[in-house]
């Protein structure tokens, strides 16, 4: 059997405690294999972002267990020692807001992700330029984030997430700032990456126009998985 890239077992996340406790995730089970492109939908506040943040080791879960790439990451406590290294080498995260560094231009934002992972500066810049071209924002390579349109910034952020060829790609409403044409282009790109890099792609979306781009659609409601539908091949 192929090792799943993401394996989540009975995972719960509770914010706060006592009367004000919010159970954002309740006993979630989820397995994503290589090459799978999974959509995550659900009403606002259903726990979608929380789930992504837990997988990205940004939020510590409350109970349960999860592993990435076959390595147990959390089981009552973090077993991996260097979460940031994990994040920069194995996970590509496309945030809901682009989160580009305002003091670096587009290409440097992408190249930084690579240099942090040990790629020599010249090579990082070359690869960053290729990625931006690929995402059709090559012309804006030297623009500062403040000068980019919402869609351009989002595509630069996608380039950054893909910079180190991660096998786990998480995206929190990546197409929210894009028109449906561009949204489809981005989704096709993610599908392409999933196939080429044998990556697991988990994308939070409300956007019905792109639902057909997913192999699977997971629905969350009140922190629980409501259904997990696989598209007939």
């Amino acid at each position: 059997m192929i090792t799943p890239l993401v394996r989540i077992e009975r995972l719960s996340k509770t914010f706060g405690s006592g009367d004000t406790a919010v159970r954002a995730l309740v006993d979630v089970d989820l397995v994503i294999g290589p090459g799978e492109v999974v959509g995550l939908k659900g009403p606002s506040g259903s726990g979608k972002s929380t789930l992504l943040n837990v997988i990205a080791c940004i939020l510590e879960p409350t109970s349960g267990r999860f592993s990435l790439n076959g390595d147990t990451i959390w089981d009552g406590r973090y077993l991996a020692t260097d979460l940031r290294r994990l994040r920069r080498e194995r996970i590509g995260f496309i945030f809901q807001f682009h989160n580009l560094l305002p003091f670096l231009n587009a290409i440097d934002n992408v190249a930084l992700a690579m240099t942090l992972a040990g790629v020599p500066a010249a090579e990082a810049r070359r690869r960053a330029a290729d990625l931006l071209d690929y995402l059709q924002v090559g012309k804006r390579a030297t623009a500062m984030p403040a000068r980019l349109s919402g869609g351009e910034a989002q595509r630069v952020a996608i380039a950054r997430a893909l910079a180190n060829r991660p096998r786990i790609i998480l995206a929190d409403e990546p197409t929210a700032a894009l028109d449906s044409e561009r949204a489809r282009v981005v989704m096709d790109l993610l599908r392409h990456v999933a196939r080429e890099q044998e990556a697991a792609v988990l994308v939070v979306t409300h956007d019905e126009k792109i639902f057909d781009r997913f192999d699977r659609m997971v629905s969350l409601r009140d922190g629980r998985i409501e259904d997990d539908l696989r598209r007939a091949a």
Partner: protein, 377 residues
């Protein structure tokens, strides 16, 4: 790419203004160090220029700088006869107000006998005193050029030469004149009662009184032995030049020295607090960016480097501005600002240390920033 520099470039105007402001503060601290050094250097400049081997003063005093000393005019001849003494000269010292073309200034008037020990050993411009009356050699601090005239005690004096760096412990410029002129000036400036007494030739108030005798010794003569011989003379005390120098720095300018030293320490402390606060503000302004860096997996090393490099660039540019500032305005300071390579380098080291220590708090705070602080709008 260097993210510390990139961030600075992104907010360049604000960063440079901060550096400039810090530069002004460091400039004050640096000039304080210079003034401290200057006070010590100035205190010794006069005694060094006079190049005395032994100072002969009134018995029971440690004059003429630390304490008042008064000797009869014939003390010089007594000193001259002591074995080992090659030359001796009488001097007088008093402060006076001089009316100069620039206005009223306070000067330290020193009378001596041209041709005998007591005059300045080097001149900046003009010539030394000859035998002529109503001539003065003024220190450049008095801002008098050769040929200028000065009114002192109702008499008009002509400046024939200038010196550099010869000031009294309070910073007043020295004005050299002949012993005779200085004694008459002394008489004119004395209160009326004392003037009547000295006109009558009464004892200590006599017009022929001096403040000290400067002795130069024969090569090979022992200053301590000569001073010891002189001390046995009635009504005379003697200090070697080493003792006089010690007295000048320990006693005469001690208070000024301690005050300036404390002021410097306080200023450095204030600078340290302000630098720490600026670095902290700079870091907290980047809270979201630092959280983003953590989000994309930047290690702590990168975060520490960002804060530390910016702190050092801030300190470095600020200190560079301070140095340029102090060196370009040092001549308009009322007191000497004695700064050499050593002082500038030591201060640079202190500022560097302050920057590193001042960063510690910010580094601690930066390392505590959680990556999720970058999420959300």
């Amino acid at each position: 790419m260097n993210i510390a520099l990139a961030d600075i470039r992104h907010n360049l105007g604000r960063f440079l203004l901060t550096c400039l402001g810090l530069g002004l503060l460091m400039g004050v601290a640096l000039s304080m160090v210079g003034i401290y050094q200057g006070v010590v250097a100035e205190a010794l400049a006069l005694s060094r220029s006079l190049a005395a081997d032994v100072w002969v003063v009134e018995s029971g005093t440690r004059g003429p700088f630390a304490e008042a000393s008064r000797l009869p005019g014939d003390a010089r001849e007594m000193v001259q006869r002591v074995p080992g003494v090659a030359a001796a000269g009488s001097i007088t010292l008093r402060t006076a107000e001089a009316r100069t073309p620039q206005g009223l200034i306070r000067v330290q008037v020193m009378g001596y006998e041209p041709g005998r020990p007591g005059g300045p050993s080097a001149l900046k411009t003009g010539r030394g005193l000859g035998g002529a009356r109503f001539e003065v050699v003024a220190d450049q601090r008095a801002q008098l050029a050769v040929g200028a005239t000065v009114l002192l005690g109702g008499d008009r004096y002509t400046v024939v030469g200038t010196t550099r760096g010869l000031v009294a412990s309070g910073g007043d410029p020295l004005l050299f004149m002949t012993l005779r002129d200085s004694q008459e000036l002394q008489f004119k400036l004395a209160p009326p009662a004392a003037r009547r007494a000295s006109a009558a030739g009464a004892g200590a108030g006599s017009i022929d009184s001096i403040n000290a005798v400067i002795a130069k010794l024969h090569a090979g003569a022992d200053a301590n032995a000569v001073a010891e011989t002189l001390r046995r003379w009635k009504h005379l005390a003697a200090l070697t030049d080493a003792e006089q120098s010690e007295l000048l720095t320990r006693s005469v300018v001690n208070r000024a020295r301690v005050q300036l030293g404390m002021f410097t320490v306080v200023l450095l402390f204030v600078s340290a607090v302000i630098i720490a606060l600026i670095i902290y503000t700079m870091t907290m302004d980047k809270l979201r960016e630092i959280a983003t860096l953590k989000l994309i997996g930047a290690p702590d090393r990168t975060i520490v480097g960002l804060v530390l490099q910016q702190a050092l660039i801030l300190g470095g540019l600020g200190y560079a501005a301070a140095t340029v500032l102090v060196f370009s305005v040092r001549d308009v300071f009322p007191r000497a600002v004695a700064l050499g390579v050593a002082e500038v380098a030591i201060m640079a080291g202190i500022i560097g240390t302050i920057c590193v220590l001042g960063s510690l708090l910010s580094i601690r705070a930066a390392l505590r920033i959680e990556p999720q602080q970058a999420l959300g709008s």
